[in-house]
């Protein structure tokens, strides 16, 4: 909540008689009661009085929850409503700077007032959150990162639609996949979402300061470094941009530049290898300051965020330099292939569901193997349809081999990248070790595909391997 920085402090600092480390952010009222009782600021009568007032609030809410139809609910429902009540009381008590003021509220039988004020605070926070969402949605980055887009387009609207201040205030009912550079997941309910969107807004604003094409190129190159399809992976875009902007400054580039050439990379490698840990920290934080001045940033929250992320980068750089793997952090500009890959897979030719069903039936009804392969090769165009078709198991044993024989090297390389996605993602490039693995793949066609690839001659395997390394996932027009 508001005191994210305050209540997660597990130091043994005491304020008055209370030990702040014992005050839990997500159970603030209860922990205040326990701690107040422990140090004598509250007595058992006070605790009992608080319990009674909470039960009285709950009793009314049960009536409201059942729309006056029932005076009882299941224990799960009662616990959930009470947790929602406590979330509101927590919100009010947490807004005091001093926990002893919270004690005064509990001592003076003001729990009902605290609850009502807490509801107002939550309602206010919810409005702020909706406003933040509008701003983010309006200035969204134009990137193909699925988690980023789904989080903004679907998950957060679901939360905003479903969030219930009275009965579900504590719930964070959204599957928010997009990871932030800094995210306090111990917070619950709408306070979590406000924190999430505040950070996302800063991150988005920062990314918008840079050239859109450069950002796109960073994403592609990052996918290449990690050996994965950046569009479907979970990673933070802002960190890539910030880190490369810092590296640009440190290698003589401009603050508004995020592309790093091979030469700049070499400079960085030399630089970091010469410096000790404290010097690494010093130059990275100075580069963060330069960014701040360059973009004339005044918002203290944004400045603080950049500093924290700068510190994260310091630790990351220290670690990769020690392991001699700086290339995992610096995203170096990749030379574009002069010729695009040529494949018979055409994404735009994806067929309708009905057409797909009819063709699968036709394939299954073909008596001759050659006819089956012919129907497939004549009618199927998009990779998506091919994968769907293979997953229907409409082919049997040898039939797979006959189909794969009709594919060119590029098509086989593309299927290899799909079948061995996880292996390639982990950075390994030794295809022969993948083929020899004993493990069964999830689909029948994948097992047949591996058998087929194993059977082809070594020269062709080499060509396919080259394509596997050359082709980026975003070049595979899947959709």
């Amino acid at each position: 909540m508001k005191s994210e920085e305050r209540c997660n402090n597990h130091s043994l600092v005491t304020q008055g008689k209370m030990n702040q480390a014992r005050l839990l952010q997500n159970q603030y009222t209860i922990s205040i009661l326990n701690e107040g009782l422990r140090v004598g600021l509250l007595n058992s009568e006070d605790v009992y009085g608080t319990e009674r007032q909470l039960m009285s609030i709950l009793e009314n809410l049960i009536r409201r929850y059942t729309q006056g139809e029932s005076s009882s609910v299941t224990s799960e429902t009662a616990v959930s409503i009470l947790t929602s009540v406590l979330y509101a009381v927590d919100a009010y008590l947490l807004h005091f700077k001093n926990p002893e003021k919270a004690i005064d509220v509990l001592k003076n039988d003001n729990v009902k007032k605290a609850y009502e004020q807490g509801i107002d605070l939550i309602r206010h926070c919810f409005e702020e959150t909706k406003q933040l969402y509008k701003e983010i949605n309006h200035n969204k980055l134009d990137v193909a990162v699925e988690a980023y887009n789904i989080t903004i387009d679907e998950s957060i609207p679901v939360f905003l639609k479903k969030y219930g201040i009275i009965f579900d205030a504590h719930n964070t009912m959204a599957s928010i996949d997009y990871p932030l550079a800094i995210d306090d997941m111990s917070i619950q309910g709408v306070y979590y979402l406000r924190q999430y969107l505040t950070h996302l807004k800063m991150e988005t604003q920062f990314c918008l300061l840079f050239n859109k094409d450069d950002l796109q190129q960073i994403l592609v190159n990052y996918g290449r470094i990690c050996g994965f399809d950046y569009r479907i992976e979970l990673f933070n875009i802002f960190e890539l941009v910030l880190n490369n902007a810092i590296f640009s400054i440190l290698s003589g580039g401009h603050a508004s530049q995020i592309t790093i050439s091979i030469n700049q990379y070499k400079q960085l490698d030399d630089l970091f290898n010469k410096l000790n840990d404290s010097q690494v920290q010093s130059i990275i934080l100075k580069a963060v300051d330069r960014l701040r001045y360059h973009f004339n940033m005044k918002d203290p929250q944004m400045i603080n965020y950049l500093k924290q992320c700068g510190m994260n980068l310091v630790n990351r750089v220290k670690s990769v330099v020690n392991q001699n793997r700086l290339e995992m952090v610096v995203i170096v500009e990749k030379k574009w292939r002069s010729k695009p890959i040529v494949t018979t897979f055409k994404a735009s030719d994806r067929m309708s569901d009905n057409c797909f069903r009819l063709l699968i039936e036709k394939v299954m009804n073909c008596e001759k193997l050659a006819d089956k392969v012919d129907v497939i090769r004549t009618n199927f165009r998009s990779l998506h349809d091919y994968i769907d078709m293979l997953n229907t198991n409409c082919l049997l044993d040898d039939e797979y081999e006959e189909l794969f024989k009709t594919f060119g090297d590029v098509e086989l390389a593309i299927l290899t990248k799909i079948v061995f996605y996880e292996e390639l993602r982990n950075g390994s490039t030794d295809l022969s070790s993948f083929y020899d693995k004993e493990e069964q793949h999830e689909s029948e066609w994948q097992n047949h595909f591996i058998e087929f690839i194993k059977s082809i001659d070594i020269n062709r395997k080499g060509t396919i391997k080259k394509y596997v390394n050359d082709i980026d996932y975003e070049e595979i027009s899947f959709y």
Binding site: S71, S72, T74, T83
Partner: protein, 156 residues
Amino acid sequence: MFLAEIFHSLDSVTLEKYTDEIIKINQKAKEFGLVLTRDEIKNIIVSRNQVLHSYGRVELSVEVTKELAEVFCTSPYVDDKNYVSTLYELQEIFYYLKNETEDMIGDFQLIGMMKDYFDDICSGSLELLKSKLEEFAERFRSDTPFRKSFFERDER
């Protein structure tokens, strides 16, 4: 403190408060020759708390017990010998039914239905009442048209 345990705790102040509320039903029950003593009421409340606990339910008032006492005191099958024991059983049946009908039927409607079954087809037999209401709950859950017609009947 807290949470789950607090729902089922029963301190003396609350017990007295609930007793005061239920004892008012005696005014009407007396018309039918029935009276509940304070001790009997207290025992009924303690029993109710155990029933709530065993059925995993929470009620922070005694509305249901009051309503059961008030509605069933008019039954021709309830007399001064079985009034208290009937209330024990009825509380148990009520919360069982509340769960089995997945909280879809309101308290008053459910109690009204229990009373109709008790007085009519069960002729005052609590055993039969349990069995008939079990059948009802089963059908209510699984038979959508039956459920619909139940609510439509009620609207009329």
